[in-house]
């Protein structure tokens, strides 16, 4: 990148970081209990080292502080993390598989985690053993399905992309059949399973954040680590190799890293659709295909988009919550169509 472009990229990244911060604080203020932007900023500021000295809590009620810190903030942080994970992995998989239809779930994460979560729900272990049984079962389900797809697709030492896509589709159908069967046989839990599959951040706590945070941040950082390789992979595996990339090793690493990242997000949020598909495409239309800028920007945009849609999900029909997956599709699709029609250059 030349100096101008590097400056431009830093500026874009800072803008997105700033926007994410602002939208998170705004989201915190929105809800049944009334909190102003400055109150929210002060409450959050008081918990952050170095700026806690300048935070002024004099006109903040205790109840407000509790709502902000214990109810809204963990949920918003979790939604931002999930959005970031989905968008970063979506970007990576689209590049890795050279397929514009690729999303984070393409190699079986969603169906595997859904089956895992459904099993935990219908067997009742989530009630008897512990609250975290559903995320845990979803995480294990995702990993088992990825492992299976990976091994079906593998030929000797290589993972041909088409094999990967097709075995992902095949296994997804297979696992979804089981999930559907579970739903039919356990009509009492059907809505709970459906709710989980559409995705929601309702009732999420700091505990969820603590579990998801290290996985997701490490995951996104490690994907960013491979942005140059991803650029070259877009030109084909042979070309990438001729330009010095160890293709098979990189592919495997990216698949494993991406899958772990998205499985962690899904475990705590359910299978929220659309974000991982359209946010990468939208950002590609705006900043181009260079993953060195695309991964951070798409990731931040995913966070922004998710915080925005989750805020709508929990407020628009308040006190009823709508699964956030419905909102992402409802708002994301028209926005994406608008971008497609105005920019017209997605791929060739």
């Amino acid at each position: 990148m030349d100096t101008n472009k590097r400056k431009k990229n830093i500026l874009i990244s800072l803008t997105f970081i700033f926007s994410l911060g602002i939208i998170m604080i705004f989201a915190v203020t929105i809800g049944p209990a009334n909190v102003s932007f400055s109150q929210a900023a002060n409450i959050i500021g008081s918990k952050i080292p170095f700026i806690n000295n300048i935070s002024d809590l004099s006109n903040v009620k205790n109840s407000q502080e509790t709502i902000i810190l214990q109810v809204r903030l963990p949920r918003i942080i979790l939604s931002a993390l999930t959005g970031m994970a989905l968008a970063a992995v979506g970007t990576t998989f689209q590049g890795l598989l050279k397929n514009p239809m690729a999303d984070p779930y393409i190699i079986g994460v969603s169906s595997g985690s859904a089956l895992g979560a459904s099993l935990a729900i219908v067997t009742g272990v989530s009630i008897s053993i512990g609250y975290f049984m559903v995320p845990f079962a979803a995480f294990i389900g995702a990993l088992i399905s990825i492992f299976t797809v990976y091994n079906i697709a593998r030929i000797g030492n290589k993972i041909p992309v088409y094999n990967l896509l097709l075995s992902g589709v095949a296994l997804s159908s297979f696992l979804s059949a089981f999930t559907s069967l579970l739903m039919i046989l356990n009509s009492n839990e059907t809505s709970q399973i459906l709710y989980w599959m559409l995705g929601s951040f309702s009732g999420k706590t700091w505990e969820h954040v603590r579990i998801a945070f290290p996985f997701i941040t490490l995951g996104i950082l490690s994907l960013y680590f491979f942005s140059r390789e991803l650029n070259l992979l877009l030109f084909g595996e042979s070309t990438a190799q001729n330009l010095g990339i160890n293709v098979e090793k990189t592919k495997k690493l990216l698949l494993v890293l991406g899958s772990f990242t998205v499985a962690s997000a899904v475990a705590v949020s359910g299978t929220i659709g659309f974000v991982g598909l359209i946010v990468p495409h939208s950002m590609r239309l705006i900043v181009g295909s260079d993953h060195r800028i695309l991964i951070p920007v798409a990731s931040l945009a995913g966070g922004i988009f998710m915080v925005f849609t989750d805020t709508i999900a929990r407020t628009v029909l308040s006190p009823t919550e709508i699964p956030v997956g419905i909102i992402t599709a409802l708002f994301g699709a028209p926005f994406f169509i608008y971008l497609l029609k105005t920019k017209k250059t997605i791929g060739s």
Binding site: D2, L234, F235, G236, Q241, N242, G288, D290, S348
Partner: protein, 425 residues
């Protein structure tokens, strides 16, 4: 060690099908090597094995002193650049970004491109005439422009050896020449080793120092361009009849395709043909008739005549005379003997003058003794000129009354041979 690449007993195939069969080649440092051969002969596969895009089942490849098959991709990329045959990119990178990717093997993970990298990219883009495209997206440029951008990226790698798989396939004629001339000049000035798969035999003959000719996954011939690209090899590999015409402008030669080859009949061994030719009119005939298995003689030919040297190379019987000399009595007797012992006499479309008129008279003697004489007509007015004040014309008429026949051209002559001798056999 003066080789750049050395390949020993390389085998490559997909499950049952063998694509490369026990290939051993040596690529000299600083050479310009073309790999040619018909579709499916394995030339692209050979290139991909050298590029390490395909992994051979057995065999070894050395890049100078390094074991290429064990070399990490990044080390190979610092020495070797590859321009692939087909290319598709669906993601909008600019031409500049694309060319800069050639610097990847030299950059550390989070290191940005330096001033040197930009200078190299600009240099390569100016050489390939793509600098004006630098801000255009590679999804929007034409196939030929993309091809040149990819070549620019390869040059940005500062390679010691460059592999190209049919680099001229997407290019129109001026860009074909431009690209090959660029490679030629880099080859000459910087000693860049160029290895390219080419379809066009004329481009191969014009630009390459050496040629590897492949057939059915094997090396059919390899060596200096002029030694490999001859009518015989081309016939064997492509089943095509060609004429090699010297290009006096650049001391190279052009390859002119004539027709598909016909099958060789080994029974032809029993048939002897005497050729009356001269001045190069017999070159193709000698070559082809010998391939078809006929026994040949030719004469009288002056020593040093191009037909004479062709006949000598082919090892046929030649009745010869000193350069520019009158044909002697003894030579005439020898030639008559050759005519009388042959089954057929063929007269090529040569202009007749007083010097070679005896050749025509001898053909007449043959015709009068019942030998079949075939005269190949030619519509070339220059060749039809009579420099003998009608004497040649008289003889030709006499020959016709004695049963000599005319055919329109070389191809008709071969058809005549086929139909005439089929009955006899």
């Amino acid at each position: 060690m003066n080789y750049h690449i050395k390949m020993n007993n390389l085998n490559f195939g997909y499950s049952e099908k063998k694509i490369l069969d026990d290939i051993s080649i040596t690529i000299q440092k600083g050479t310009f090597l073309s790999i040619i051969g018909p579709n499916g002969s394995g030339k692209s596969t050979l290139l991909k094995n050298i590029a390490k895009n395909l992994e051979p089942q057995s065999g070894e490849i050395w890049l100078e002193t390094l074991d290429l098959l064990k070399l990490p991709p990044v080390e190979l990329a610092k020495k070797m650049a590859v321009v692939p045959q087909t290319f598709q990119i669906d993601f909008p990178f600019t031409a500049m970004e694309t060319v800069l990717m050639g610097r990847t093997p030299f950059l550390k993970r989070f290191q940005s491109e330096t001033e040197k990298d930009f200078t190299l990219a600009k240099w390569a883009m100016e050489l390939t005439n793509t600098w004006h495209l630098k801000d255009r997206s590679v999804t929007e440029v034409s196939g030929g422009e993309l091809q040149r951008i990819i070549v620019a990226r390869a040059l940005t790698q500062e390679p010691k050896i460059i592999l190209l798989d049919e680099p001229t396939a997407h290019l129109d004629i001026q860009h074909q020449m431009e690209l090959l001339e660029l490679l030629e000049s880099l080859n000459k000035t910087t000693g860049l080793t160029v290895v390219t798969v080419l379809h066009d035999l004329n481009l191969a003959s014009q630009f390459s120092e050496e040629v590897i000719m492949m057939k059915d996954g094997k090396i059919f011939a390899s060596g200096k361009t002029s030694e490999v690209l001859n009518a015989e090899n081309i016939r064997a590999v492509y089943e095509m009849e060609v004429l090699l015409a010297e290009n006096p402008l650049n001391q190279k030669f052009n390859i002119i395709p004539l027709a598909r080859s016909k099958n060789i009949n080994i029974e032809n061994k029993n048939i002897k043909i005497h050729i009356i030719c001269g001045g190069g009119t017999g070159i193709y005939l000698i070559d082809r008739l010998q391939q078809l298995g006929y026994r040949l003689s030719a004469g009288v030919l002056n020593i040093g005549d191009s037909d004479w040297s062709k006949g000598k190379k082919a090892g046929i019987k030649i009745i010869e005379e000193a350069p520019f000399a009158k044909i002697s009595e003894k030579t005439i007797n020898n030639n008559l003997e050759a005519i009388f012992t042959s089954d057929l006499v063929v007269v090529t479309p040569i202009p007749f003058g007083m010097g070679n008129l005896p050749n025509l008279e001898m053909a007449l003697s043959g015709a009068e003794k019942g030998k079949k004489v075939i005269i190949i007509k030619n519509n070339d007015p220059l060749l039809n000129q009579d420099f003998t004040n009608g004497k040649a014309k008289d003889i030709l008429e006499k020959m016709e009354t004695s049963g000599a026949e005319y055919v329109e051209n070389y191809f008709d002559f071969f058809e005549y041979l086929e139909s005439h001798f089929k009955e006899r056999l």
